[in-house]
């Protein structure tokens, strides 16, 4: 049998293979990650909730199922971490917010249900910026998660807990959610693979809503195969979410087939993504990665996404507007924390006033303002129109290219606290991830190099809507051939 240390080094796909070949057991894998959590998470603070007992019980039944013979889903017995934005029956769901303290949902998110059906083991819930609003996980009401590459730096966010869990081998894979970059950017900052599928691919049922028209569940793993396997398992139409697409889901449950090379692949390089303010090492690394793709036979195409500069303001009108309504249900009446019971308005004001953090309040106010009578046309409606133009930019670009390549984030991991007092600086972290979210297209962040301080740099590959079957093989080909 392998030692705990060697077990946790396995990728998800390798662990799955080891289970299949009887080289290890689910209980051993689960014990290994639980032991890693107890050793490392005191420093990293990635988990808000660890459910060791439940996880071991799941692992035991997974091992029994495997011993009973037959064919099994590759996720059977694999320990995973779930961002605390997804509901999981039997575990608390806080969304990183004080206002949901003590709340335990009686339902699973559909993505969780599908993992459960596959036999996955849930080790716990990971930290997040409150209601997924943030790019550093510092907006969590509970704890500050640290980047495993440098404990003084942020892991990115909002799925920082999930990215750290994977990067620090505390889970073989994780689910995050990505509204404007919340899977890709922390994956980039933590040196793992983060994948945001097309909007409508993964059900939002049971996903605590931030911005409904943008929220998308995405997997985080150590390899393209790992995220592809998780993607194929959780994606697909769900009658409980009317915004899920009926499109058939590509089956990557047994891995992604790499291409022999990139001959015939047209890689778009959007000129608007290489701008002033981008960390020079990041730009250089991403340009080298793109050159590598050319060397593999890809044709590079200069593409124009003319409305890119409007993505940030557009996002910061639409997302807060939707959030202002989505967060209205946290009123202290039915669940979560309640303050002041004597008077209705005092109950609302104090429950919400004490329950929400500063960034959440900022966005609720922004959203309430832009939806108000007299402002709706100038802000919300206009933003929706611009969003259509951004979407069109992508549609036009994908008539010429198969994928687009650009940085995931403009910087590597930054120091804790360095942007918390400057929301605009923080918002700029998502400048390269927002457009794909607004356009609803799939995008993946792959580790490519590290900067001079050893901090990971992410390459973002963006695909066309529902073009995961094209995007992921290209990503895997890059991953297999690119050594830094």
């Amino acid at each position: 049998m392998m030692s705990n240390t060697s077990l946790i080094q396995l990728s998800l796909s390798q662990a799955s293979q080891a289970l299949r070949q009887g080289e290890t057991s689910s209980v051993a894998l689960t014990e290994a990650v639980l032991s890693q959590i107890s050793q490392a998470d005191g420093r990293l603070q990635a988990f808000l909730h660890v459910s060791a007992e439940q996880a071991l019980a799941q692992a035991t039944s997974a091992d029994q199922a495997r011993q009973a013979g037959g064919t099994h889903h590759p996720l059977l017995g694999i320990p995973l971490a779930i961002k605390d934005i997804l509901c999981l029956q039997g575990m608390p769901a806080t969304a990183g917010s004080r206002i949901l303290q003590g709340y335990r949902p009686v339902y699973d998110a559909t993505a969780v249900t599908r993992l459960r059906q596959a036999g996955a083991v849930f080790v716990g819930k990971t930290n997040t910026d409150e209601f997924a609003m943030g790019s550093s996980t510092e907006n969590s009401a509970y704890q500050v998660t640290r980047n495993p590459h440098d404990l003084e730096r942020v892991p990115g966010g909002s799925s920082g807990g999930s990215a750290v869990a994977v990067a620090a081998h505390m889970a073989f894979g994780a689910l995050g959610t990505d509204t404007g970059g919340s899977v890709r950017q922390p994956a980039s900052l933590c040196g793992v693979v983060g994948f945001k599928p097309s909007y409508g691919r993964v059900s939002r049922w049971g996903v605590i809503a931030f911005a409904s028209s943008l929220d998308q569940v995405g997997p985080i793993g150590r390899t393209v195969d790992d995220v592809a396997l998780l993607f194929s398992t959780i994606a697909g139409h769900d009658p409980l979410d009317s915004t899920t697409a009926p499109n058939p889901v590509p089956d990557f449950t047994h891995g992604v087939s790499a291409l022999p090379d990139l001959t015939g692949v047209r890689v778009g390089v959007p000129r608007q993504y290489f701008i002033e303010g981008i960390q020079p090492e990041v730009e250089a690394a991403v340009r080298r990665a793109i050159e590598h793709m050319r060397a593999l036979g890809a044709t590079l195409v200069d593409v124009d996404l003319p409305h890119t500069e409007y993505a940030l303001p557009t996002y910061y009108i639409i997302a807060p507007a939707e959030a202002s309504a989505n967060l209205a249900r946290y009123d202290g009446v039915r669940f979560g924390s309640r303050q002041a019971e004597t008077d209705l308005w005092a109950l609302y004001e104090q429950s919400r006033g004490l329950g929400f953090g500063a960034e959440v309040k900022r966005r609720i106010m922004l959203g309430t303002y832009t939806l108000s009578a007299g402002y709706y046309d100038a802000y919300y409606l206009k933003a929706q129109q611009v969003r259509t133009l951004i979407k069109r930019d992508f549609e036009q670009a994908f008539q010429q290219v198969d994928v687009m390549a650009c940085p995931t984030a403009p910087t590597t991991a930054f120091k804790l606290g360095s942007k918390t007092n400057d929301p605009l600086q923080m918002y700029l972290e998502d400048i390269f991830t927002l457009p794909a979210s607004l356009a609803g297209v799939p995008a993946i962040s792959l580790p490519c190099e590290t900067d001079s301080q050893g901090l990971p740099i992410g390459l973002q590959l963006i695909g066309s809507a529902f073009g995961e079957a094209r995007l992921l093989p290209i990503a895997k080909t890059f991953e297999l051939t690119y050594q830094n």
């Binding site: 997804l86 509901c87 769901a93 969304a95 949901l100 709340y103 949902p105 009686v106 339902y107 998110a109 939002r204 049922w205 049971g206 996903v207 605590i208 809503a209 911005a211 409904s212 028209s213 009658p239 409980l240 979410d241 009317s242 915004t243 507007a321 939707e322 202002s324 309504a325 967060l327 209205a328 249900r329 009123d331 009446v333 039915r334 669940f335 209705l344 609302y348 309430t368 939806l371 108000s372 009578a373 709706y376 919300y380």
Partner: protein, 499 residues
């Protein structure tokens, strides 16, 4: 001198749609006045984190039925929108409604009034979800909060499909308002989308009222009276508001545009919110629900399946010779009209008239139902059986009195009239020779009465009639008795003159 004012009234109707399940979740739609609180709820209608709505297609169908009955244009492109406000009966902090792209637009309904037919335009019909219900208890309640004042939230009703029907301000009298509201009420019941049970709050009215000098066409500030939950509250509230606003103008004052409540106890309206304090509902398209495309071919199908509506039925009954009043009585309740229609279809092989059926139904049958506290739904007499009974009476097999007795037995047992008549030997004696013999015997047995009759006391003819009927146990054909008796008495009269 007081000026005369013309009221300008628009009506908004909120009607619950009695689908099996709620608008956006699988919970049952139940009678919220009866059900145990918070038993028909789920994470969706409780607004729990991460829960998403899914549209109940049946609610769209029900709404479409109403829209078509109101001559509206059903819109091919529907968008649900969030209407944002905080209240404990609204679990999500927003109500999913329709705003810019409602289910239907531009309809109308003709209303019969004392001044003839008037057309009221329908501005829009849209779908939304109902809220829960709050009960305020002073001094706590059995479940807790002893000694405190508490508001109890029951979310059984939260998420029940609600149809909002909005008229144009085409109504200029309370009479027309009432007729319009009643007709809408009847249509909802005929379409089987709503029980019409006003006491249970399944239909709620709001009236928008302004007044202006007669002859003027200005639109003065209007007030909106909410929570009018009966026809009476609707008419009283509107009348009150018309009088209140007229009095203000009489004193050269100005009416403020505001939302009013209706105090049932005091029979008064009271100000709730002024325009300046009006809610800003911050409507925006519901991102959890894609726009709904409504296929015109499907609308055509629904239209073809619409039942005959009350106004058309009323017309048809009058064509059959019923008075407007009788037709109105039959049409008022869909169950009555349905029973009557079934009876009509049993008329074919008989000589019974529609009018006779109407008379028996609204007379004898209703009297029996009222006396026994039953309703048509559990009536044992089928429409065909009623027609058969009327046929027996009108064909002379039994007389009207027997007919009433037979109906009573049918009502109790569900037996057919034929069976009862045969068993009880109720068939009417129409044998004129038997009747003639009975008359002769009777006259012979009562020489004094005959003498008095012949002496001019003509009313004794009636006495003889009664005696004959009595002898024949009430089953004789009165026409035959009358004819034979007249002949017999005429004969005696002639003999007396001759001798």
């Amino acid at each position: 001198m007081k000026r005369q004012y013309q009221p300008v009234i628009g009506l908004e109707v909120h009607a619950e749609l009695e689908t099996a399940s709620k608008m956006f979740c699988g919970c049952a739609v139940v009678d919220s006045t009866m059900a145990e609180p918070n038993r028909h709820v789920c994470p969706v209608c409780l607004g729990m984190p991460g829960m998403l709505p899914t549209i109940n297609a049946k609610a769209i169908e029900y709404g479409t039925r109403v829209a078509l009955a109101l001559n509206c244009e059903v819109q091919p492109f529907n968008v649900f929108a969030r209407k944002n406000y905080f209240y404990p009966d609204l679990p999500k902090g927003y109500q999913i409604s329709q705003y810019e792209y409602p289910l239907a637009l531009h309809g109308w309904l003709d209303v019969e009034t004392s001044a003839g037919t008037q057309r009221i335009r329908i501005r829009r019909v849209h779908l939304e979800e109902d809220t829960g219900k709050l009960t305020h208890v002073d001094g706590g309640y059995a479940g807790g909060y002893a000694g405190e004042n508490a508001s109890l939230v029951d979310l059984n009703r939260a998420g029940v499909p609600l149809l909002e029907i909005v008229s144009e301000p085409d109504i200029h009298s309370v009479e027309v308002l009432k007729a319009f509201a009643e007709q809408l009420h009847a249509i909802l019941r005929y379409l089987k989308v709503n029980s019409g049970d006003m006491e249970k709050g399944v239909i709620r009215f709001e009236s928008n009222v302004s007044v202006r000098p007669i002859g003027s066409d200005v639109l003065n500030p209007r007030t909106e009276i909410k929570n009018l939950n009966s026809f009476r509250a609707l008419t009283r509230g509107t009348e009150y508001e018309i009088a209140r606003q007229s009095a203000i103008y009489d004193q050269a004052g100005t009416v403020r545009q505001q939302t009013m409540g209706w105090n049932e106890m005091r029979q008064q309206t009271f100000a709730q919110r002024s325009k300046e304090n009006a809610h800003d509902y911050r409507y925006f398209p519901e991102p959890d629900l894609p726009p709904v495309q409504i296929d015109p071919a499907w609308v055509t199908e629904i239209r073809a399946q619409l039942p005959e509506l009350p106004a058309v039925k009323q017309d048809r009954y009058q064509q059959l010779g019923l008075s407007a009043y009788d037709a109105g009585v039959l049409v008022a309740e869909p169950e009555t009209a349905h029973y009557f229609d079934q009876a009509l279809s049993a008329l074919a092989s008989t000589r019974v008239s529609a009018k006779s059926v109407a008379n028996w139904l609204t007379g004898q049958v209703f009297a029996l139902l009222n006396a026994s506290g039953q309703n048509l739904a559990n009536l044992k007499v089928t429409p065909a059986q009623l027609v058969e009974l009327i046929g027996l009476v009108e064909g002379g097999t039994i007389n009207i009195n027997s007919g009433r007795d037979v109906l009573k037995k049918m009502f109790e047992t569900g037996e057919s009239a034929q069976a009862i008549v045969a068993r009880d030997g109720l068939a009417q004696v129409s044998d004129s020779s038997l009747i003639a013999r009975t008359i002769d015997q009777l006259i012979a047995d009562n020489p004094n009465e005959l003498q008095n009759y012949l002496a001019g006391k003509e009313s004794l003819a009636q006495w003889f009639f009664g005696q004959v009927m009595k002898q024949l146990k009430g089953q004789a054909n009165p026409q035959v008795i009358k004819a034979e008796l007249t002949a017999a008495l005429e004969l005696r009269k002639k003999h007396a003159q001759d001798s």
